[in-house]
Amino acid sequence: MFKTGLIFFPAFDWAISPTHPEREERLLYTRDQIFEEGILDQRKIVEYTPRLAEEKDIQRVHFCVPNIAAQTTTAHFISAGSALKLGDALLAGAIDNGFSLVRPPGHHAMRVVHGNRGFCNINNEAILVEYLRKKYQLRKIAIVDTDVHHGDGTQDIFYHDPDVLFISMHQDGRTLYPGTGFVDEVGGPGAYLKNINIPLPPGTTDKGFLKVWREIIRPLLKDFAPELVINSAGQDNHFTDPLANMQVSSQGYAQLTEELKPDLAVLEGGYAIETALPYVNLGILLALAGQDYSYVVEPQAQKQQIKQELQVERYIDKLIAYWQKKLAEIPPSKEELFSSKLIYKNSRHLYYDTDNIREQQQEEVSYCPDCPGVYQVISQSDRASGRNYYLKGISIPLYACSACQEKGYEIWERAKKEKGYDLCYLQDKKNDQYFREEIRR
């Protein structure tokens, strides 16, 4: 029998603050709806108990500043751990797909974590991907992010990883937090077109949403042929979401889920906690379990006819045409992309909306013909109040060549002696070893 694993962890005892959108109440009505339906009595849906992630699972992905304890609560460990538990069940063959219906969310959390951004501290999907790749020797994984906000954290973490295809469809960054996710963010020189952004115009309905999936994402996935597909299942494209401006319904989400067939879906955002979440979550769960979801119609949808405006439709068609053309082109070589100096450098500022921090970063990836190359980041936080940190992080990719692995350790040894850093981090994903050093001034 086809089985869908479910971990429902509404964290009824955790909130960012009492009136924050990310509060105890968020999944209360979802609980009511899913329990009331009686569908959990069916043997097709197997409910698991959540578990805690381990520190190492987080170190595999993040440089938490100044440490993991400062950036997480128990709820974060459970939220991340739940996805890992379903991942284990999936790879053990106990379930055929799974839904980690948990909070807090994670897709805005980047590799370096100075604080909470977009309600996220640690990235549940990234932690899941790195865990599964390490434990089960998987290589190619695709993440499809259907939250209305650009999955900038996930993009950041896998930007230079050619084995992880990250696709985010979201409301255009010119009109919504976090203000990124444009078509020219295509992945680092070693992972060209492994990062695909589909910024949609406000007012996109089920029609546009599904068209983008069918005409851009589906062919992309087919070409990439991942061993596993993960869905960052945010639900704020819903027409009633208070923080965004899209027109998607629970039917649209359910249909997308049915066609996407993610191996694992992980809840992200969605703050229409009454009007959307009970119905969208139910729709996704039914679609995953191969059950009929056509009766999942939110009361507002019965009353209002949702129609996609012509200009929205035209915009989406152009976007599809753009991507179809781009993806048909012969890509430049890795060497060409790295340019003559054979080094990728990037300098940027990042904004932490929840915790009021501005971060300044310089990133560097050195070219290697045999592997994705060592990644380095220098980061400085700038907060209105509280302590600031200046740090350096070095990451050796999972499939690094031995020369790059060695090089990573050399940089690490040097960095610790260099003046000025408060903290140095080394991620050796290849050997699954992680180091952090606090340097006393």
């Binding site: 329990f35 009331e36 009454e274």
Partner: protein, 558 residues
Amino acid sequence: MFVGIDIGGTFTDGVVISDQEVIKLIKVPTYDDISLSIEEALQQILAGLEPQKIEQVTLSTTLITNLIMQDQLAKAGLLLLPGPGANPHQLSFACAYKIINGAVDYRGRVIKPINLTEVKEACQYFLDRKINNLVVACKFSQRNPSLEEEIAAFVQKNYPECKVLASHKVSGLLNWVRRANGAFYTLATQEACRTFQEKIKTTLAKLGLHCPLFILKADGGTLPLEVSLCYPLETIFSGPAASTLGALACTEEKITAVVIDIGGTTTDLALLLAGKPLLAERGALINNYPVPVRSLAISSLALGGDSSLLIEQGKLRFGPRQGPALCVGGPVLTVTDVLVYSGYSEIASPALIKEPVEETARVLQLTPQQFSEQVLQMFVAQLEAKLEIMFKTWEEEPAYRIWQVLSVQKERPQTLICLGGPASGIGKYWSEKKNWQVVVPAFSAVANAIGAALAKTTLKLDFFADTERKTYTTNLGGLQGTLAQRLHNIEEAKEFTLQLFQEKAKDWQLVPDMPVETVYAEGFNIVRGWQTTGRIFQIGLQTVPGIKGFLKGARQDV
């Protein structure tokens, strides 16, 4: 002095317990009319006792179970109001149904009104099929019963020949399929229950017994005979609850153990965790249909002492019961015979079955010792496989709060309590082969009656209030209403819940000073547009589960 009566398939057992001791044991046959067995049992119990010394009689009855299993249910039809959600045709409803329009949402708001023409048509449909017991079940009716009530009133008025029951009267559980099925089984068995209750009352009066009479529930608690009429389903599957409580009473408080009750044809497994029986996460199933009844987590295996031993293609396997064991005059070789042959059981002389055992072993090209070993190994292996599933289910019980995830310390028991005829033999074998403590208590043959006698009256109240909508609901069918007062904070909500609890406790004849524990208590801010517009409170109260007392010196370790 407490009396427990367990009505089994063939025999009805009775015990009298006084001062932690069993002072009387009786056994009578179980008749088709179980009230006759109860009468006979009570007569024997009362012989030589003063009726006024008896504080309470508790029955573990198979009345409802038998009605259901023998398909003697009154016919009924469901009027379903699913509203938005899962496809109702893919859900497990226990009888014929008609879908009608009308819907309530999770907050109890009516999101779609009903259409009485549709109701009429549905009623007519059932009447044409000679079905005049009707259940109305609306999703989220516990949050707002108005649509169910409107339909029920309409049916009663226009079709006086119909009996109608609204699902919110049966249970307030969040699971409309279980509520609908629960209402169906309640309606279908209520008449038989009423008759039974009348008979029992007459019997008690005749025997001069004036103490309260309780019925054992599937979750190991009891409820007064009068209340059981409203909740007849609660009394289903009380047998395994009785034996598990009996096992507890024969050991000690806070014991963590597996209880196996091995009968002739089936074996039931249950878990005792720190002296509390483990409950099934979602509730009971009747004929695979989910119902809103809390029950112990019982795992059953179609394997018992009378299971026959078959040889198929040179391989040994267990077959169904074909009669009692060979050593006591049955037709074929059974598990019990092997226990006797290998010295684990002394119910008969091994000489009686020496030949057939040796003959079967020869067919399998084994020595009789190897053969016996194989049979017992297979038996225990099947028990272990079932146990493993039980443990896994227990370990995977969902948790929705951080504290629940953190408080998980699930250590598997290493103690086995064996009940039932072949139990001591299997127990001895188990203790030889595994590193377990094995207990075969004294009185293990009447553990069920002991469990019934010592079960506590229990009450569990799951309270849910929405202060914005000024409503409250509970898990108990029919107990819901409007909040006349404002509940400002969790303390006020707890106070309110406790009052409700104490009112119900009177109906349920709970001991007045029985300690009440808070299982959970949480408040949610209803925030709309950054403004707190109300609060939702969820509070769970229950009497502390367990039993009234333990029997002195009943624990006997193998």
